[in-house]
C-alpha cells in the first residue's frame, strides 16, 4: 500500500501497531471476512521484537536467535489474510467515536472503524542516570534495532548496564555476532532474589527456563559480568568518555565508548490514555496498564488493547491477546467462518503455557527504586525540556500534587516525546516526595496528536474543509 488515498474511509476493524499482537489480530479479523486495516508508522511490519524481520541483513539465524525468526510466520499469515497493510502510517489520534487520524506520506485524513484494536506495544522503561543524554549512551532496544535493521554492532569499549531479560538477550546476540562487550553492569537488586524464589517452581516448568539458562551460559562464558551495581554515571563533555559505577567495592571508573542501558519495558500508554481509556498503576510491573476485561476490551466501547500495551507479558502472549481481541471484535460485528469456542480454548491453553514463569521474571528483574527515581537532584528527568529531579521535587514543595501541575510549572512532558521518556519517573518522583502511591499521583493528561504532525497537514484534513466548525472570528 503506497499512500493515503488507498485507505478506505471506513473499516470494520482497524488494528494499530504491527507487532505480534497486531499481526495476529489483523490476520484473524481479516480471515473472518471483516474489512480490516493494519496501521504502523514503521516502514515494515514486526513491531519491536520482530523489527526488520522482512528486511534484515542478519540472515545467520543463530545471531538473532530462533525466537526472533518465529515472527516470520506471523508476517506471512497477515499478508495472506486479506487485511490491508498500511506501513508508514501514523495513527496520531483516536476519538471515543472510533475516528482515527492517520498521517501518511505527509498528508492526513480521518478514517472510521467499527472496532479498534490498539497494539502499540511497549517502550523501554526510562533509565535516568547522570549523563544519560550524552551521545554514546543508548537504550538496549535502540542498539538492538541497529543490529536487526542494519547489521550494525557497537565497536570500541562497550558496556551494557541494567537488568531484565532483554539485556541478556541482546548481550547474547552481540556476542554471537562477533562483537565484544567490555562488561555487563548488572543492577538486579539482591533484595529481589528472595521474593523471586516464591515464583521459581512455575518458572522451572516454563518455556523460559531453558532459554534463560542458554542465554546466561552464552553470555557469562564470554563477557565480564559485574553484579550488584547500585549506581551508574555516564561521564564526558559533549560525548560519552567514561562510565562510573558503584558496587560494594565503591565507585569504579572505566573508559567507555558505548553505554547501553536497559531496565525492562513498560506499556506505551500514550495513544490509549489520549482516548481516555482508564488505566491503573500496576505495583508489580511498576507501570500504568489499561483496565481491560478478559478479552482486552477497554473502558471505551469498541476499543480493545492487546499485546505488551496491555501489560508486559512477552511476544507469544501478545499474539494470543491479539487473537482474543480479534475474536471479540468478530463476535461483536458478526463475522465468522470458524469455531469461536475452539479457537478461544486453544488460545487459552497457549496463554497459560506462556504465562508460566513470567511472574518469576517480573520479580527477579524488578528495577531498584534508586534506578527509577534518581536520588541526585542534578539528574535530568525530562530529556526533551531538560528538567531535573531537583526541580520536580521543588515543584512538589511549592504545592504541586501531581504530574500535570508539575508539567505546567516546569514544562516536563511538554516536549516532542510527550512524556514517553519521563512520565513514569515524574510520577514516581512525586509519589516519593509526597509519600503516596503512584496510583494516587496519576500520570500526565495526554491528548492527540500522540506524535507530532505538521500544521499544514492538520489544516488540509479533508474534514476541516467544510467550514470553520466552531472556529470563531470575533
Amino acid at each position: 500500500m503506497r499512500g493515503l488515498a488507498e485507505l478506505a474511509p471506513a473499516y470494520d476493524v482497524a488494528v494499530i501497531g504491527a507487532g505480534p499482537a497486531g499481526l495476529a489480530a489483523a490476520t484473524l479479523s481479516a480471515r473472518a471476512g471483516l474489512k480490516t486495516v493494519l496501521l504502523d508508522e514503521n516502514p515494515a511490519p514486526g513491531g519491536q521484537i520482530y523489527r526488520a524481520i522482512t528486511t534484515t541483513p542478519v540472515r545467520r539465524k543463530e545471531v538473532l536467535g530462533a525466537d526472533y525468526w518465529l515472527g516470520a510466520r506471523l508476517i506471512e499469515e497477515v499478508e495472506a489474510s486479506g487485511a490491508q497493510l498500511a506501513m508508514g502510517a501514523l495513527a496520531w489520534s483516536v476519538s471515543r467515536d472510533l475516528e482515527i487520524g492517520v498521517s501518511m506520506g505527509g498528508g492526513s485524513r480521518l478514517l472510521a472503524a467499527r472496532r479498534i484494536i490498539l497494539a502499540t506495544g511497549a517502550l523501554e522503561r526510562p533509565f535516568p542516570v547522570e549523563g544519560w543524554t550524552l551521545p554514546g549512551v543508548m537504550s538496549a532496544g535502540g542498539a538492538q534495532a541497529l543490529l536487526k535493521s542494519s547489521g550494525l554492532v557497537p565497536a570500541g569499549r562497550v558496556l551494557l548496564a541494567g537488568t531484565g531479560p532483554l539485556l541478556w538477550l541482546f548481550a547474547a546476540q552481540l556476542l554471537r555476532a562477533g562483537a565484544a562487550i567490555a562488561a555487563i553492569l548488572e543492577t538486579t537488586p539482591a533484595a529481589n532474589y528472595l521474593p523471586a524464589v516464591r515464583h521459581l517452581p512455575a518458572f522451572l516448568c516454563s518455556p523460559y527456563l531453558a532459554k534463560g539458562i542458554a542465554l546466561m551460559a552464552q553470555v557469562r562464558g564470554k563477557a565480564r559480568v559485574i553484579g550488584g551495581v547500585k549506581g551508574i554515571s555516564a561521564l564526558g563533555t559533549d560525548q560519552l568518555r567514561q562510565v562510573s559505577f558503584l558496587t560494594q567495592k565503591g565507585w569504579q571508573r572505566e573508559e567507555c565508548d558505548h553505554l547501553i542501558l536497559h531496565q525492562g519495558v513498560v506499556p506505551d500508554v500514550n495513544l490509549a490514555m489520549s482516548i481516555g481509556i482508564k488505566h491503573r498503576w500496576d505495583a508489580v510491573q511498576l507501570c500504568f496498564v489499561p483496565e481491560l476485561d478478559g478479552v482486552g476490551n477497554s473502558s471505551v466501547a469498541g476499543i480493545a488493547v492487546a499485546g505488551d500495551g496491555a501489560g508486559i507479558a512477552g511476544a507469544r502472549i501478545a499474539e494470543e491477546r491479539g487473537r482474543l481481541a480479534a475474536l471479540a471484535a468478530i463476535g461483536a460485528l458478526g463475522g465468522g467462518g470458524f469455531n469461536d469456542a475452539a479457537s478461544a480454548r486453544s488460545i487459552g491453553r497457549s496463554l497459560s503455557r506462556h504465562a508460566r514463569g513470567r511472574s518469576f521474571l517480573d520479580a527477579l528483574y524488578r528495577p531498584a527504586r534508586p534506578m527509577r527515581v534518581p536520588a541526585s537532584d542534578a539528574i535530568l528527568v525530562c530529556r526533551c525540556e531538560e528538567v531535573t529531579a531537583g526541580q520536580i521535587r521543588d515543584a512538589v514543595g511549592l504545592g504541586c500534587t501531581g504530574p500535570n501541575q508539575v508539567k505546567s510549572f516546569l514544562r516536563c512532558g511538554m516536549g516532542p516525546c510527550q512524556g514517553r521518556q519521563c512520565g513514569l519517573t515524574v510520577t514516581e518522583l512525586i509519589a516519593q516526595a509526597r509519600g503516596v502511591t503512584p496510583q494516587e499521583v496519576g500520570y500526565y493528561r495526554l491528548r492527540p496528536p500522540i506524535k507530532p504532525i505538521s500544521l499544514g497537514e492538520l489544516a488540509t484534513l479533508p474534514e476541516g474543509q467544510a467550514g470553520a466548525a466552531g472556529a470563531v472570528v470575533r
Binding site: 508508522e41 514503521n42 516502514p43 519491536q48 523489527r51 526488520a52 528486511t55 534484515t56 541483513p57 542478519v58 540472515r59 545467520r60 545471531v63 517502550l123 523501554e124 543524554t133 551521545p135 554514546g136 549512551v137 543508548m138 537504550s139 532496544g141 535502540g142 542498539a143 534495532a145 541497529l146 535493521s149 542494519s150 547489521g151 550494525l152 554492532v153 557497537p154 565497536a155 570500541g156 555476532a177 562477533g178 562483537a179 559533549d238 560525548q239 565508548d257 506505551d268 530529556r383 526533551c384 525540556e385 531538560e386 516536549g415 516532542p416 516525546c417 514517553r420 521518556q421 506524535k451 507530532p452
Partner: protein, 99 residues
C-alpha cells in the same frame, strides 16, 4: 562508532549526503542508522540548552534523532529509510521560521 557485520556491509550502497559530505549508507538503513554507521557522534543540539544529542531509542519514541531531511527539519531519522540522493543535515537549536 559502529561496525557493520560483513553480510550487512555487502548490501547495495545507497549514497546520501550528510551536511554536504557524501556518505555510503546501505540499503535498508534508516537515516539514524546511516548517521551512526558513518561515525556521526550527534545529530542535533537541543533547542532548549544547546547540548549535543544522538539517537537513543531507535523506535520513534525519544525524538532525539531529529534531523533535517531534504530540506524538512525535525524529521525522526529512525523512522525514515535512506534513499539515493537524500540530503541530510544535522540540526542546531530551534528550527528557523520559513524553512
Amino acid at each position: 562508532m559502529f561496525a557493520r557485520l560483513p553480510e550487512a556491509d555487502a548490501r547495495p550502497v545507497v549514497a546520501v549526503t550528510v551536511d554536504g559530505v557524501r556518505v555510503c549508507a546501505r540499503q535498508g538503513d534508516t537515516v539514524a542508522a546511516a548517521l551512526l554507521a558513518a561515525a556521526f557522534r550527534h545529530c542535533r543540539t537541543s533547542p532548549v540548552g544547546g547540548a549535543p544529542r544522538a539517537p537513543y531509542c531507535m523506535m520513534g519514541a525519544c525524538f532525539e534523532c531529529l534531523v533535517q531531511v531534504d530540506g524538512v527539519p525535525n524529521r525522526q531519522g529512525c523512522l525514515l529509510v535512506v534513499r539515493e540522493g537524500m540530503q541530510i543535515a544535522t540540526q542546531h537549536g530551534k528550527r528557523e521560521a520559513g524553512r
